[in-house]
């Protein structure tokens, strides 16, 4: 009997890549617009624009090659499910559909940094406009659109800033896996992000959208066609969160190396796991709400129109049921990074490892029970307020566990003050302020006063930028040698840290004061008595933006202009991702390793090496 060749791969001979994707996206857009305008139920442009964006995205993904595999399966062809035949080298792989988690991690990193630049430019426009108490460079009518574009772009970025580059690149390496569970889903989660960003940017051609990132109805129902960009862009990010969540969780659950028990799992991976749970379960609720909004705007249904049987509170509930866990989607992986790095740079076992895990899960669980604190001033039933106030205040307890773990690890240790560690310490300082100001906002009486003010705005910038983005920077400095084989310039890194830390606090701490002085957010004009404060903040914001330019310059300089090859394990860390050669081999490990000890057993007598990289003969992964 003939034995079938298991490695035979038949492929569709369709040229795929970014040019094909862009071409099909443009074709798809115009086809969708025509279809919507021709056959839409109502005489507005929304149906056409929404269909245009949907078809454009589908066209882009088809052009990138996402249809080849399912179509080949439908035709009964023998295919390569894991992309074993797709191992590529060279720069070109970063511009194609790749199933290599390391390539996808780098793709994410570069995309996130690019989007961060555009989001930052939006912030600079806002701050420049606020140099004067009356609107200057941005007319009052457009101010909210700029705020909306900045905020939604930043939300897109921060949703994926850590899970995208570092989760995808590092999780398989840290758990001793030779692959991701669903490489195609992983690639899809990345390739949904660029269309989302472009579609969001396209809102500018339609005059933007006036709702900010919250998209409250009925304003979102009345807004112009720019709102359609918000809807489709956000749905794509939601899909990216779901696909990423399925892939990450399945990988961590099913593909841990033998010996990697839950008690030995690196704390960063725990952070990614908790984040993925939140993304997986919260994003579908957002997707449903956005479908309702799209139907209201295109098919004239009335989910959010009170006059016709709907309710704007329906949007507020569904949005914040997603929106508050989303905040923890930003911060949980940052917690993971800070705990991970604290152990490595203190050269001590992670203090209270289990407490840290409980803290991460505590935040994950409680984040589902706090969303209505966003509605304290929206007219929710007063009897509900105490519950949501207490549940919100309660979340500071597991957050306190995280701080306890980090401070306990650093306590009386000789901390190696590297650049990544500096950013971790910066995170602790900033997030402490963000957390404490959050307690005030969880309290009903103070929230009623401060909710619409710059106090609230400064609070969430302290948590997201002061928290997540500082941890993001720490992660780049720490894992850059692992991902690229190059060291980032440490002198520039130290200058970057102090510049960013001082400029960040100089920007946002005065805004807490501006909020206490009743300066309302989302308004382009303010009390002239606050002009000096605002000018101070604007110049500080310029400094903050320039610190990010320095960061980008350091990355470009160290990666391409004056690259310094990194030594094999520059931080002399115990964790598994540092035990493999540079560059990381195509399948990560020659064999699935056998995990012998935890990653933080520094200074322990008779501590075993973290893994036997020769592995077990015949082991396939899956602890």
């Amino acid at each position: 009997m003939a034995v079938a060749d298991l490695t035979t791969e038949r492929r569709l001979s369709i040229p795929t890549g970014i040019p094909t994707g862009v071409l099909l996206a443009i074709t798809g857009y115009f086809a969708g617009v025509w279809l919507g305008n021709e056959f839409g139920l109502f005489d507005d442009q929304n149906t056409g624009i929404i269909l245009g964006y949907v078809f454009a995205t589908a066209g882009f993904l088809i052009g990138m090659g996402f249809l080849n595999h399912p179509l080949g399966r439908l035709l009964g062809w023998r295919l390569d499910p894991l992309g074993e035949a797709d191992i590529e080298v060279g720069l070109g792989r970063y511009f194609r559909l790749s199933l290599d988690h390391k390539v996808i991690g780098i793709q994410y990193l570069v995309t996130i940094l690019t989007m961060l630049f555009f989001g930052g430019v939006g912030a600079m426009v806002i701050r420049t406009s606020l140099l004067s108490p009356t609107p200057t460079i941005v007319p009052a009518g457009n101010y909210l659109s700029v705020v909306g574009l900045h905020s939604v772009m930043m939300i897109f970025i921060t949703s994926a800033a850590i899970v995208g580059p570092f989760g995808n690149y590092l999780v398989p390496l840290m758990i001793g896996s030779r692959r991701m569970a669903f490489p195609r889903l992983e690639a899809l989660s990345f390739w949904l992000v660029p269309p989302a960003a472009v579609i969001l940017g396209a809102a500018t051609f339609w005059g933007g959208f006036p709702t900010g990132w919250t998209g409250y109805a009925p304003l979102s129902e009345q807004a112009g066609q720019g709102m359609d960009s918000y809807i489709v862009g956000f749905i794509l990010i939601g899909l990216a969160l779901i696909t990423s969540g399925v892939n990450m969780l399945a990988t961590i659950i099913a593909l841990r190396a033998p010996g990697l028990t839950w008690a030995r799992l690196p704390i960063f991976v725990w952070g990614i796991l908790c984040t993925s749970i939140l993304g997986l379960l919260a994003a579908p609720v957002l997707a449903a709400a956005l479908v309702m909004l799209a139907l209201d705007r295109s098919a004239q249904t009335s989910f959010f129109l009170a006059s016709n049987g709907g309710s704007n509170y329906l949007w507020e509930n569904l949005f914040w049921f997603f929106g508050h866990p989303e905040v923890y989607i930003f911060i949980l992986p940052a917690f993971g990074i800070v705990m991970e790095l604290a152990a490595h740079f203190a050269r001590r076992p992670l203090f209270g490892y289990r407490v840290g895990v409980v803290g991460l899960f505590g935040v994950t669980l409680l984040s589902w029970f706090v969303w209505q604190h966003h509605l304290f001033v929206s007219g929710i039933a007063p009897v509900l307020r105490p519950f949501y106030m207490l549940s919100t205040e309660l979340i500071s307890v597991p957050t306190g566990f995280i701080f306890l773990v980090v401070l306990g690890t650093l306590w009386r240790s000789r901390v190696w003050l590297t650049v990544p560690m500096l950013f971790c310490l910066g995170f602790l300082f900033n997030f402490l302020i963000g957390g404490i100001t959050g307690v005030y906002l969880s309290d009903v009486p103070t929230d009623v006063t401060l909710h619409g003010s710059y106090f609230s705005m400064a609070h969430f910038h302290y948590t997201i930028m002061g928290g997540e983005i500082f941890a993001f920077a720490a992660a780049i400095y720490y894992w850059f040698p692992r991902m690229t084989g190059k060291m980032l310039n440490q002198t520039l890194g130290r200058i970057h840290f102090w510049w960013m830390f001082i400029a960040f606090n100089s920007t946002f701490f005065p805004l807490l004061i501006a909020g206490l002085l009743d300066m309302p957010r989302r308004v382009s004009a303010y009390n002239p008595g606050l002009q000096f404060l605002n000018q101070w903040v604007t110049f500080s914001a310029y400094l903050l933006f320039s610190s990010m330019i320095l960061f980008a310059a350091n990355i470009i300089y160290s990666w391409f202009i004056q690259p310094v090859p990194a030594v094999a394990n520059p931080w002399r860390a115990r964790s598994l991702e540092w035990q493999i050669p540079t560059p990381v081999p195509a399948r990560n490990f020659e064999r699935v390793p056998l995990i012998l000890a935890g990653p933080y057993d520094y200074g322990l007598p008779n501590a075993k090496p973290v893994a036997d990289l020769r592995g077990l003969v015949g082991a396939t992964g899956g602890s």
Binding site: A4, L74, V246, A250, M292, T301, N308, G309, G310
Partner: protein, 197 residues
Amino acid sequence: MAAETRYSAAEAALAALDVRIASVGMWLFLAANAFYYAAWYFAFFYLKALNNNGAWMISGLTRPSRAYGTIVLLLALVSAGAYALATRAPVRTLLWRLPAVAALVVGLGVVLFQAYEMWHLGFGLTQGGFPSVFVGLTGSWVVEWAAATFWLATIISQARVGGDTILRAAPVAAFANLLGFLAVVGILNWILLYFLP
């Protein structure tokens, strides 16, 4: 002579791992799905309870046809049941192929009947809360059912002799959970949209 696929021990171990991954992945996907439909059910009960402006279900509104709803549900149950039956037999045998193909054909019927019903609703989309939820919830369900049908077609196509390796047989069992889940959602929709006063 038809090609036959044989597997080494290492390949069999990989296949077992892949089955586990597919199973875990499917449960995770279903969890996400559950939250998606929970949002729609929340909208249903929330708008129904509020009945803003008395426009949840305006007087004189023609409710969707129970006959159509029942036919769609029955087809969905038959499709999911047939596929569940198929998973009891080894892949590529006639006992697997027959019910799987039946599930596919009946599954296509679900899409066609539901689409027909949506074009003959008897009420306008602008006529209040209930029509909004009906169209959104039913539309979401049938779009997902159509995608599942496509997936089923790929599974059947890949399950022929020489057409696949064991690795790709992994979705076969996991897919039954998806059809089962969608059938349960179909039952809930049927009760809420056609019978709840």
